[in-house]
């Protein structure tokens, strides 16, 4: 799964997940969602890492983009949020220290994302 998904409608994207994983992001369990995220990024999905939202206005603008997405729009969520499977920046920012990260549930609690996450991952909605 790589750049071929560009331009797919959410319904078509959901169908693609169903074929590959037997379920869609909206219905997938924690481990399947983790696998979907890892597969997307390991297979070359480019996410919008920059610019990091320096102000709350910029941060809110990203949230506005995410807010309207359906739960199956996993690829769009990852792209818009600048999701990475590794720490980022000179300070090695990572989910482990982010206030939205629930350490035990391994979950990003930011309502606009609401996705599983790993401690060593990162996205540009990182806040401490």
């Amino acid at each position: 799964m790589d750049s071929r998904v560009e331009g797919l409608s959410v319904a078509a994207e959901a169908e693609m997940y169903r074929k590959r994983y037997g379920t869609t992001p909206a219905e997938a369990d924690h481990s399947t969602l983790i696998r979907m995220i890892e597969d997307l990024l390991n297979e070359g999905l480019e996410t919008q890492v920059d610019p990091f939202p320096e102000t709350d206005r910029e941060f809110s603008a990203i949230l506005d983009e995410l807010r309207g997405l359906p739960a199956d729009a996993l690829r769009e969520k990852l792209v818009i949020s600048g999701w990475l499977l590794k720490p980022h920046g000179p300070d090695e920012m990572r989910c482990q220290e982010c206030m939205y990260f629930l350490v035990h549930r391994r979950w990003c609690d930011l309502p606009e994302l609401n996705l599983p996450a790993e401690p060593e991952w990162w996205c540009r909605l990182w806040r401490i």
Partner: protein, 320 residues
């Protein structure tokens, strides 16, 4: 017996409403148990028009001894320094304030508007509003930085939007019963007995603050409101979680972020869009950190706390 006069400038009457809800002691207790004689109050006074004016004039002339002058609301200077936008009993309120504060033994400012300007003084401050002795953090206000009442005290500031009713009545009782000398005031002339601790002191969400678990939406009972929803509890001096509202609750206990209304900068960030109910950050780090904590320490503390957080901290433990 202590004579009390209460006037209102640029305000919403919120502090009067709060005062009338006082319980320990109540507004009635002030009269029946503590010997306070309410000369006039906007919501309680029976006199109207010239009869009110006569009371004010007698206070100024000394015919009636004015022991406590309470002011609620801002002192309005507009337009062009005349104060004509807020006339009362035939003249600008600012003139009554000047003369009554000079005649009073004690002057008490109730609520943010009277203390440091509050919402009316928010930029661009069209009514040219001031607090009695402050404009936001700047000392001076309507009466000047060096003002002291006849008893030798500066204005006693009881901020809040509104002030908690019991802060008001307890301070009035202290003054009326000759214990004003026991009051120690902080740099903003707030009684230290109420304004040394923080709103966060006693907050039921403190364990979530400690383990860095955030509330991310209104109505969530888990999580701390500081990290995302703009709560100013760790930076705000007030006893809101020690002396509860209606004796049962507080904003943060009810899931409402503290707006920092007992601090001179309230309303913060001049109510710019996106600043209310949203923690302001720079590069992901809160602009305003808990008092006494620096950025480096905050980052270290977060890493340690996240690493040590127990699983239950991520759950709603307030099961109905």
């Amino acid at each position: 017996m202590a004579n009390l006069l209460w006037l209102q400038g640029g305000a919403c009457s919120g502090n009067t409403m709060s005062f009338l809800n006082a319980e320990e002691p109540s507004a009635c207790d002030l009269v029946t148990d503590f010997g306070i004689n309410v000369l006039w109050q906007p919501s309680l006074g029976l006199e109207l028009g010239d009869d009110v004016k006569a009371i004010l004039q007698k206070c100024i002339s000394g015919e009636i001894q004015l022991d406590i002058f309470v002011f609620e609301g801002t002192v309005i200077d507009a337009p062009n320094g005349t104060g004509e936008w807020n006339r009362f009993c035939g003249r600008p309120m600012k003139e009554w304030v000047k003369e009554l504060t000079a005649a009073a033994q004690f002057v008490v400012a109730i609520g943010d508007c009277a203390t440091w300007g509050g919402i009316p003084a928010t930029a661009p401050n069209p009514s040219d509003s001031k607090g009695l002795q402050f404009l936001k953090r700047e000392k001076g206000g309507a009466l000047g930085a060096n003002f002291t009442s006849k008893a030798g005290l500066p204005v006693i500031n009881i901020p809040g939007c509104p002030a908690h009713p019991d802060w008001v009545t307890q301070i009035l009782v202290a003054v009326a019963t000759g214990r004003a000398g026991d009051l120690t005031l902080d740099e903003f002339q707030r009684p230290k007995t109420f304004f040394s601790s923080f709103t966060q002191t006693g907050c039921t969400r403190n364990m979530h603050f400690a383990y860095k678990v955030s509330s991310t939406a209104f109505g969530q009972r888990k999580g701390c409101l500081f990290y995302d929803l703009g709560c100013r509890g760790p930076m705000t001096h007030s006893p809101c979680n020690r002396i509860l509202w209606n004796r049962v609750s507080s904003k943060t206990r009810a899931g409402m972020p503290c707006l920092g209304c007992t601090e001179p900068e309230f309303p913060f960030f001049d109510l710019a869009p996106g600043t209310v109910f949203k923690t302001q950050t720079v590069m992901g780090v809160p602009k305003d950190l808990p008092e006494g904590v620096d950025k480096k320490g905050y980052v270290k503390l977060t890493a340690a706390a996240k690493g040590a957080a127990p699983a239950w901290a991520e759950e709603d433990i307030f099961v109905v």
